[in-house]
Amino acid sequence: MTKWLKFGAVPLLSVSLLAACGGSDGENGGSSEGVESETTSETIGSGEIELVFWEFGNTGYDKLIEEYVEENPDISINLQNSDMNDMHDNLFTSISADTGAPDIALVEEAQIERYRTAEDSFNNLYDLGAGDVQEDFLDWVWHNGENADGDFVFGLPTDIGPTVMFYRTDVFEEAGFDSSPEAVSELIPTWDAYEEVALQIYEETGKLMTDAGELIYNARRDQASEQYFNTDEELIMDDHPEIREAYDYTADFFDQDLAGDIPLWTPEWFAGMDDGSYATMLAPAWMQGVIKDNSPEEGIWSITTMPEGAGNWGGSFLTIPSETEHAEEAYDFISWLTAPEQQLKSFQDYGLFPSTPAVYEMPEFIDYEDPYFGGIPTAQVFSEAAQQVIPVYKGRNYYAVDDVMKEAIDNVSAGDDRDEEWEASLDTIDRILAR
C-alpha cells in the first residue's frame, strides 16, 4: 500500500513543482511548454491618461511603475502580465486585425523578427526622439531593434542575456578542482577543455557535465558569427560550419554520456538544479533567478566566463504599437524605464541585465556582490560577457528553425544517428521555409 502511495506522490510533487516554476520560466526565450499561465492585470496610479502595458515573465516593472506614476500624476499604467508565447500571439493577432493592441508591448528579442514586415503597425521611435538616447545603449542590441535600413526602430532595449557558465562548486571540488571562478575560468578556456573536464568529472564523481544537450548547443550557437540566416533571409546552415559544429559538439557529449537528455523547463530539469546531478549550466544572466528559485542553498552555485567568449540569449524591447492614442506619453514612460538608473534597479531586484553600458560603470553595479553566488561580483562577469557579444542576425523564421534543431538534438540524445537527423532537419526546414 505504501508503495502505491509513493507512486501517487511522484506525479503530485512534480505538478506542484511545475506550478511553482511556472512564473520564472517565461522570462526571455524560455519556452514554457505545458505551463498555462494566467493573465494578471493591475492598474497602477490614478492619472487621466491610462497606458495599457503588456509584458511577460518576471520583470518587476510594477515597482518601477509605482515610482513613475508618483512623479507623473496624470499617468496611470495598466500592467498586464501573461505567458510569453500567449502575449506575443495576442499582439500578433491584434496587430494583424488593427484593433486591440496595447499602448506599450514588451517584445522578446527573437520574436521581434515576426513583426518586421509590420512597420505600419508600430510607432517609429526615431520620430518620438529615440535618436537622443541611442548612444546610451549597446550598439548591437540597438541594431537588433531596427529595420534593415536602419531608419526605423521598433523598440527600446530593456535587457540582454549575455551568456556565462554557472557551475557547482561542490561538484568541481569533489572532482579535485579548485572551485574559485578564476581557477575554473583558467581551467576551461576552450570547448575542448570543457569536454576534457567533463570526462574527468564523470570519472571522478560519476556526475554529468550538463543536464541538457540543448544548453551546450545554445551556448555554441549563440557564439556563432552567423546563425541560421544571413541578412537576405537566406538559409546558410548548409555551407556555414558554425551551426554544424555546435550540433556535432553536442552530439559528442551524448556519445560519451556526458550530457543528460532532460529537456529544459521540465520539472526534472528544475529539480536537477538543486540535487547536484550536473556540474555546469551554460546560460544567460536572467537564468540566475531560475537557479535561485530552484536551488535555494547559498554558495553552491558560482559564475564564471564561458569558454571561447560569450553569446547573447534573450532580452527584450519595449515597443509602441501605432494604434495607441498616447504615443508621446508612452515614449516618455519607456525611455524612463530603460534609462540606466532604472535598469540598475531591475538588475538588483530581478537580475535583468542592463542594455545600457553606463550602468556597467556605476559603483553600485561594479561592487554588487551576490552572496548567493559565493559573494563574487557577478555583475562584472556578466558585463565582461556583454561586451564580448557579437551581434547576430536572426531572421523571421528563427524560432521555427531553432525548434527543428531542438527536436534533432532530442532525437540524437535518444540514440538516433546524428547525420541522418541533420539531413532530416534540413529537409524539414526547407519545407517550413517554402510555406
Binding site: 507512486f7 506525479p11 500578433f92 494583424s96 510555406r435
Partner: protein, 307 residues
C-alpha cells in the same frame, strides 16, 4: 378554439408584421453566424489562394498552397495520426463506457449516485490540466510514472513524447480518460429507457450477464451508440489541445493532428495561406466522413425496421 379572438384570420399587413417580428427574433443567431461563422469560413477559402504572413502584403499564388500541403509528408502524418489517435481513444472508450454504464445501472452496486458523479468528473476537468498531469504520468525519464511501473516488469523506459506509437497511446489515453465518463452517462441514460421486463424475461430464460449485455442491452442501445460514435468522430477530428500541451508548440510529426497542423502553420510559421488550404482539406475530409456516417446510419436504421 375558433372563438378565441387571438386566432381570428389576420389581414395581410398584420401577417407581414408577424413575419417580420419572427425574423427579428431569430436574427441574433444569423447575425452572429454571419460575423463569426460564415465570414471567417469564406475568408479562409479566399486566403487559401494567397501567400500571407498575417501582417504584410497578400500575394495571389493560385493553387500553390494546396500543392504545398499535398506534397508535405507531415500533412499526411497529421491525417493518419488523427485517425489512429481517434480509433485508439474512442473504440476502447465506447466498450468501457457500456460496461461501466451497465454496472452502474445494475441493482448490485451500492452508492450508485456517488459512482455516477465520480465517473463524470474527468469530463469537467480542464483539458490543459489533464494534459499537464498526463505529461507527468507519461514522462520520458526512468522515474516517470508509467516508465517506473514498466521498469518493475523490466521494460526499458519509453520516450512517450517522441516515439511513434507511445505518443499516440499517451494522447489517446488522455482522450479516453476525459470522455469515458461523458459517454458512460449517455449510455446510462439509454439503458434506463430499456424496459426492465426484458431483463426479467432474459433472467427467467437463464441468460447470463454477458448474454444480457449482448442480446438485450446492445441491440436496444443502437441509437445511443450511433450518437456516441458520431460525437466521438467529430471530437477526434477536432483533437488539438491535448497534443499541443503534451508535445509543446513544436508538435512533433509523431503526434501532430490535423487541427494542430493547421494551427501550427498559421501561428507558429505565420503561413496563413497553407493553413487555410489545410483547413479546406479538413473540411472535405469531414464531408466525406459525414456521408459515410449517414450511409451507415440509414442502413442500420433500415435493418432495425426489418429485424
Amino acid at each position: 378554439m375558433q372563438s378565441d379572438p387571438r386566432n381570428r384570420p389576420k389581414g395581410n399587413r398584420e401577417k407581414r408584421r408577424t413575419a417580420l417580428s419572427a425574423y427579428f427574433f431569430v436574427s441574433p443567431f444569423f447575425l452572429l453566424f454571419l460575423i463569426f461563422g460564415l465570414f471567417p469560413m469564406l475568408f479562409s477559402f479566399y486566403l487559401a489562394f494567397f501567400r500571407w504572413d498575417g501582417l504584410g502584403e497578400m500575394t495571389y499564388v493560385g493553387l500553390a498552397n494546396f500543392e504545398f500541403i499535398f506534397n508535405d509528408p507531415v500533412f499526411y502524418s497529421s491525417i493518419l495520426n488523427t485517425f489512429i489517435i481517434g480509433l485508439l481513444g474512442t473504440l476502447p472508450q465506447i466498450v468501457f463506457a457500456i460496461l461501466i454504464a451497465f454496472a452502474l445501472n445494475s441493482a448490485l452496486i451500492k452508492f450508485r449516485n456517488t459512482f455516477r458523479t465520480i465517473i463524470f468528473l474527468p469530463y469537467i476537468t480542464s483539458v490543459v490540466a489533464v494534459a499537464i498531469i498526463f505529461g507527468v504520468v507519461f514522462n520520458n525519464q526512468p522515474f516517470g510514472f508509467v516508465n517506473y511501473i514498466l521498469s518493475l516488469f523490466e521494460v526499458d523506459p519509453i520516450r512517450w513524447n517522441a516515439e511513434y506509437w507511445p505518443v499516440k497511446i499517451a494522447i489517446a489515453t488522455m482522450v479516453f480518460w476525459r470522455w469515458v465518463g461523458y459517454n458512460t452517462i449517455i449510455f446510462l441514460a439509454g439503458m434506463q429507457s430499456i424496459p426492465k421486463e426484458l431483463y426479467e424475461a432474459a433472467k427467467i430464460d437463464g441468460a447470463t450477464i454477458s448474454q444480457q449485455i449482448r442480446l438485450v442491452t446492445l441491440p436496444m442501445l443502437k441509437p445511443i451508440t450511433l450518437f456516441v460514435v458520431f460525437t466521438a468522430t467529430i471530437g477526434s477530428l477536432q483533437l488539438f489541445t491535448e497534443p499541443l500541451i503534451f508535445l509543446g508548440r513544436n508538435l512533433r510529426e509523431e503526434g501532430i493532428t490535423m487541427v494542430a497542423y493547421l494551427w501550427r502553420d498559421a501561428f507558429v510559421y505565420n503561413s496563413f495561406g497553407t493553413a487555410s488550404a489545410a483547413a479546406i482539406a479538413l473540411f472535405f475530409i469531414i464531408i466525406v466522413l459525414t456521408v459515410i456516417n449517414l450511409l451507415i446510419t440509414s442502413r442500420l436504421g433500415r435493418s432495425k425496421k426489418v429485424g
